[in-house]
């Protein structure tokens, strides 16, 4: 591997990519608080390392299924920020012309096969993407993302067993941010190491540091490779945290004293910047990672805001073939 893949070059790229998501989400938050975006919005601030690390090992033909907390996954997968913001703003240029909104958009042309607003419901869909790959010669791997709380949903269980029984190339990525909406996951399970559940299905499961893009890249990379080579599914539990509410407006009364401070020390931007500084990377490079991202997001926001609203004339189309 070259230095740019493993060393400070990779870290700088990761930092930029983390910033891209962070700034996109901050922009979304501003637009939501300002009333330009309406409705329920779920930000992934603090959880950016997962999408950044995981999407870097996916091939174009691979499939990615995310949740309502999916803006970051879409962006990391290559969906343009302007198209995402336009979607949330209900513009004609939104990825789905405003039909999907914040929580249910899809961009298959970028290998992003959709957010899903039903907890756990993406897992069965991912099985199908993997199954199709068995017949279409693409060698497709399906990456399926969901939260800690989703592990208690029947559909996720059925999907893990189904994938394992049939050796389907599915990588299950559980983003464990320790909360399901307003409820701590530890109160909803006896054993809160969710990766342990993989054994029930006879597949590999691993809990990893989900706030380090390099760790995520490495472990997801191995899982994707193993799945692609016929090893079947893998479950990865990415330990992470959202630094914001479940949705915009969440009063976050469930937080422990000092919790947000503790989380702030471990969040991806802080950690990457500290690591880069420890490696004596120039401050200007560190700043550039932010500024490049900021430039992109600002431009995207302008582009999205300038786009026309979605055309209500066409609203009845595409119900059927």
């Amino acid at each position: 591997m070259t230095e740019s893949e493993t060393g400070t070059g990779a870290m700088l790229r990761d930092l930029r990519d983390v910033w891209r998501i962070r700034l996109l989400e901050e922009k979304v938050r501003d637009l939501r608080l300002g009333g330009d975006i309406v409705g329920s919005v779920h930000l992934c601030i603090g959880q950016e390392a997962g999408p950044v690390g995981a999407c870097s090992v996916l091939e174009p033909a691979d499939a990615l299924f995310a949740t309502y907390r999916g803006h970051g996954w879409a962006l990391a997968r290559g969906v343009p920020a302007a198209a995402i913001l336009a979607e949330l703003l209900g513009r004609a240029t939104g990825v789905n012309g405003g039909r999907g909104g914040s929580a249910h958009f899809t961009a298959p042309e970028y290998g992003f096969h959709g957010e899903n607003s039903i907890v756990g419901a993406g897992a069965p869909l991912a099985l199908g993407a993997a199954l199709a790959g068995r017949f279409d010669g693409t060698g497709r791997v399906a990456l399926c993302v969901f939260g800690d709380g989703a592990m208690n949903q029947g559909a996720v269980h059925e999907s893990m067993n189904f994938a394992a029984a049939f050796d389907l190339p599915v990588v299950f990525v559980c983003e464990n941010n320790e909360y399901s909406e307003l409820t701590p996951i530890r109160d909803m399970v006896r054993n809160d190491v969710l990766a342990d559940r993989a054994r029930a299905y006879g597949m590999l499961g691993e809990r990893i540091d989900g706030n380090d893009p390099a760790v995520v890249r490495d472990r997801v990379g191995d899982a994707v490779q193993s799945a692609r080579e016929g090893g079947g599914p893998v479950l990865l539990e990415l330990m992470t945290a959202r630094l914001v509410g479940h949705y915009i407006g969440d009063a976050e009364q469930y937080r422990q004293p000092g919790e947000l401070e503790r989380l702030a020390e471990n969040e991806p931007v802080t950690r990457l910047q500290a690591a880069l500084r420890a490696a004596a990377v120039p401050e200007s490079d560190i700043a550039a990672a932010h500024d490049d991202a900021a430039h992109e997001i600002e431009a995207a926001a302008r582009e999205a805001a300038a786009a026309p609203l979605a055309d209500a004339e066409a609203v009845r189309r595409h119900v059927h073939a």
Binding site: G94, R99, H104, S180, A312
Partner: protein, 328 residues
């Protein structure tokens, strides 16, 4: 001793839950985020603190939530559980349709399932297709299940208590756009009514408009506009959909000779069809063909501008009445 307080719809529901928990030791209250957080819409706020273990949070496991409520109800409890959005019933509808609905019938009444399922539904700006459906028709096609849709704060209180008191499984369909609306005078502590009944929002002779859910408010607004045009519309709101007040509805339609049904569910196969069908079966002579005002047969788009183009409001309801009047 009844007292009157100013409460929002959500607060009124909270008051009903508190009263039920106070008066009936067999009431349990649970669901996702229902306990410690007090509900994502705040409806169960303070109840965990007051009632301890009888109020609790659950995993995101709708089959377990609903099924455990059916089971607990079979054993003498009166569980009140929450399905946060009506759309989420679809991961676990078996426990309602194949389980709860059969308990009394198959056992010839020796086992019963007096559970209450609170949910909320409907369109709201920005909600996606998976969070916007109005699915009352599914429950209304399931014999054995009772269904109501509170609209006022008083309803939110009264209907919930009637539901909890009912010995059948009841689905109480609230509406998230109503939870945090203006406070209204709510009479608390009065006798709990049996399920059923309707509310005549307005009497009139020109046409009967039957409606339920949040669209009731739009219907009243439409009726006011129409009144200024000289059309006195009878607005029948049916907070209880099962049992449905057929006698009253048919009598009104027979009187006015014109019928509009307005609901937020998709048109085809919505419960509006049942209302039109029963009126037709009753052989009631109409001055003009009846009409339905409903969401057209599509998935609901998230963008407010798109949704506004397909979700009916007062204008569509008023227009439907005007067309009826013009037609005969």
């Amino acid at each position: 001793m009844p007292e009157t307080r100013k409460l929002s719809y959500g607060e009124a529901a909270n008051a009903a839950l508190r009263r039920a928990l106070e008066e009936r030791p067999e009431v349990l209250l649970y669901g996702e985020d229902v306990g410690v957080p007090g509900g994502v819409f705040g409806v169960s706020k303070g109840l965990r603190k007051q009632f301890g273990d009888r109020v609790f949070d659950t995993p995101i496991s709708e089959s377990a939530i609903l099924g455990s409520a059916v089971g607990a109800a079979m054993f003498g409890r009166r569980p009140v559980v929450e399905i946060m959005w009506t759309d989420f019933f679809l991961v676990a509808l078996d426990q309602v349709v194949n389980q709860a609905a059969n308990v009394r019938y198959v056992s010839e009444g020796r086992l019963t399932a007096p559970l209450t399922i609170r949910t909320q539904q409907g369109t709201a700006p920005g909600s996606c297709a998976q969070h916007s459906q109005s699915l009352e028709a599914f429950f209304l096609h399931t014999p054995g299940i009772r269904v109501c849709m509170p609209v006022t704060a008083q309803d939110a209180y009264d209907l919930l208590l009637s539901a909890i008191g009912c010995d059948d499984p009841v689905v109480v369909i609230e509406n998230r756009t109503l939870y945090h609306g203006a406070k209204q005078e709510v009479s608390l502590g009065g006798p709990v009514a049996p399920i059923g009944g309707l509310r005549t929002r307005r009497t009139g002779t020109t046409a009967t408009v039957v409606t339920w859910g949040a669209l009731s408010l739009q219907t009243v607004a439409a009726a006011e506009t129409l009144a200024q045009e000289g059309h006195d519309v009878e607005v029948l709101e049916t907070p209880w959909l099962d049992p449905f007040p057929w006698d009253e509805v048919l009598a009104s339609v027979a009187r006015t000779g014109r019928l509009v049904v307005a609901h937020e569910a998709n048109r085809t196969g919505g419960f509006g069809a049942e209302v039109l069908a029963r009126v037709a079966e009753a052989g009631i002579a109409l001055a003009a063909p009846p009409r339905r005002v409903a969401v057209p047969d599509l998935r609901l788009p998230a963008a407010p501008g798109l949704a506004a183009a397909v979700v009916p409001g007062a204008d569509q309801i008023a227009a439907a009445v005007r067309q009826l009047v013009a037609a005969g």
